[in-house]
């Protein structure tokens, strides 16, 4: 570990495109061999007549079948395991509110490689073992907790698992422990700044903060810049998803011009979500990832449903790993709000349990004072009362039931029947007015 080097893993980070290509070919072949032990893949490979030797270049990944979230649900919980469970040491699971949860297994090596990826990212943005890293992200099943914890420790930083919330305590830690770096969802950092102001704490004067890692919820360039100005820090965009391990998959370098996706760990494809054919660099399509190092649960051509585009394959920072734009949206109807993934069907399911409510509803996502909010407008089935208190308690009960389901508190508005737009065929249920995807 040379603290003066800009690279933690120069042997991988500074590979030329040609070298990356060679490495990926070899690792993709290994992955295919590993998948041979997974009936789901073995059968597909057999049907398609694919063998590891057929892979001559990373582009040959296109010969392989896609994997979807539904496949993960259908094989719940351990159907995609490529090693015996006794070789696994951790699993992360989604909440599963829209059906079977998705489960991702990790061997000891998987956790090791995951920590390496996160450590590489944090090193890339200038963090070193003498930094103090406060992880203000949810722990537990949410991979942003343990993912950053292990990565920051791997780098050698003093790591504070502060977890999410409790701003007064967060601020005390920042001051008392000399925290220099924080990982959090961007909307929380705005909140933290508000509390600092209320407490008379000036982050530039009273703290040693210099670097933020932000991610897990879509945010705009403007929002990033505002956070940087508030705290006087540099904030770097982080991309992760539990299916790929968690945070660490992609991260901005100090150029802050797109996220480097680590091609020694993943094959990155951008495809047209309709035709599933590759789109040219610069054009927006769906991000598809193939794991190259994962032992417990290799995933082939996993459809992330995130929309983005290739910005370039070289960078002034000396890393030739593909640079992707911040996520531009979703190719399904999933919403990401304050780090929580929400499908409209979850909202619908709850609304339908209230006989006072009609079936027409509209979800609007907005950014108000840097906070992302969800408003749920729902029509009253009929006027069941002449009493405000009853309407207010209905609003309260709906809000609480939704919060139990999606773990966020939406703003619930009752509206008269027939006032929400009814569209032909597929109803428009979600209006995203946030600036994040622009």
């Amino acid at each position: 570990m040379d603290v003066n080097s800009p690279y933690l893993h120069p042997e991988y980070e500074t590979l030329s495109r040609e070298e990356i290509s060679k490495l990926q070919t070899a690792r993709l072949q290994e992955t295919i061999n590993r998948c041979a032990g997974v009936p789901f893949y073995a059968q597909k490979f057999k049907e398609m007549g694919i063998k590891a030797e057929d892979i001559k270049s990373p582009e040959d990944v296109r010969k392989l079948p896609f994997t979807t979230k539904q496949d993960l649900r259908d094989t719940y919980p351990f159907g995609l395991a490529a090693v015996p469970l006794t070789d696994c040491v951790r699993l992360h699971s989604s909440s599963g509110t829209t059906g079977n949860p998705t489960v991702i297994l990790h061997t000891k090596n998987d956790l090791d490689e995951w920590a390496n990826q996160v450590a590489r990212n944090l090193w890339m943005v200038g963090l070193r073992p003498d930094d103090v890293f406060q992880n203000s992200s949810g722990y537990g099943m949410f991979t942003g907790g343990l993912g950053f914890q292990y990565g920051a420790e791997r780098l050698g930083m003093l790591t504070v698992p502060a977890a999410a919330g409790n701003s007064l305590r967060q601020i005390k830690f920042i001051k008392d422990f000399g925290t220099t770096a924080i990982h959090a969802v961007p909307s929380y950092l705005t909140r933290l700044y508000e509390v600092m102001q209320e407490q008379g704490v000036d982050p530039r004067r009273d703290t040693k903060l210099k670097t933020f890692a932000i991610g897990a919820e879509p945010h705009s360039e403007e929002q990033r810049q505002r956070i940087e100005k508030m705290f006087g820090v540099k904030a770097y965009n982080s991309f992760g998803m539990s299916e790929m391990c968690g945070p660490g998959v992609g991260f901005e370098c100090q150029e802050q011009n797109g996220l480097h996706f680590w091609e020694d760990y993943y094959i990155v494809e951008i495809v047209d979500p309709e035709t599933l054919e590759p789109v040219p660099d610069g054009e927006i399509g769906e991000l598809v990832l193939t794991t190259l190092r994962r032992e417990a649960m290799p995933l082939i051509r996993y459809r992330t449903r995130d929309l983005t585009r290739v910005l370039g394959r070289t960078c002034p920072c000396g890393r030739n790993h593909v640079r992707l734009d911040r996520m531009k949206g979703r190719s399904d109807d999933m919403m990401v709000l304050r780090g929580v993934n929400i499908f409209p069907i979850q909202i619908e399911k709850i609304l339908m349990t209230f006989p006072e409510l009609a079936s027409n509803y509209l979800i609007t996502l907005t950014t108000d004072n840097d906070n992302d909010n969800m408003t749920v407008e729902v029509e009253l089935a009929e006027m069941f009362t002449d009493d405000y208190a009853r309407l207010q308690s209905l609003t309260k009960n709906v809000t609480r039931a939704l919060k139990d389901e999606i773990l966020l508190t939406p703003i619930v508005k009752l509206v008269p029947k027939g006032t929400l737009p009814v569209s032909e065929g597929k109803a428009v249920r979600v209006v995203d007015k946030r600036k994040v995807y622009q």
């Binding site: 009253l380 006027m383 002449d386 508005k413 009752l414 008269p416």
Partner: protein
């Protein structure tokens, strides 16, 4: 002893009130009193009218969500302190008044209110011989 009051759920946006009133006009419904209280997002329009049940059907036909509830309408003498005296009678026996509004009817003040205990309110009205408006007298307006 009670009269039917209509309650319409309204979005707190321009044009919603006139929509309901236009429907009532079309149906040739004579209004006696209307009142509206609002929160940030919505309001409840309360209507006292001649032929409230017919009016209710007409509104429903037009796709407007409407509820019918029983409220009391007491006649007050036109002198200071009348309302206080009447409300005190209910208060004394432990009746809570959910909401109240007034209008003029034949030169007399009318106090409209809903309580949390209809039975006890009826008893109080009878015992104190309070003059109340019946649905039949409202129908004369039609």
């Amino acid at each position: 002893m009670t009269i039917h009051q209509l309650s319409v759920f309204l979005e707190n946006t321009s044009g919603t009130l006139v929509q309901v009133l236009q429907q009532l006009k079309k149906a040739n419904v004579q209004l006696v009193a209307i009142t509206i209280a609002d929160t940030a997002e919505y309001g409840i329009l309360r209507i006292v009218c001649a032929e409230p049940l017919r009016a209710c059907e007409e509104l429903k036909k037009a796709g407007i969500a409407v509820a019918v509830s029983d409220v009391f309408a007491l006649e007050l003498d036109n002198k200071p302190g009348c309302a206080a005296d009447v409300v005190e009678l209910f208060s004394k026996v432990g009746i809570s008044i959910t909401y109240v509004y007034t209008f003029l009817y034949g030169g007399k003040g009318i106090l409209v209110f809903r309580t949390d205990n209809t039975e006890l309110a009826c008893k109080t009205i009878v015992e104190n011989n309070l003059p109340y408006i019946s649905e039949e007298s409202l129908a004369q307006w039609a």
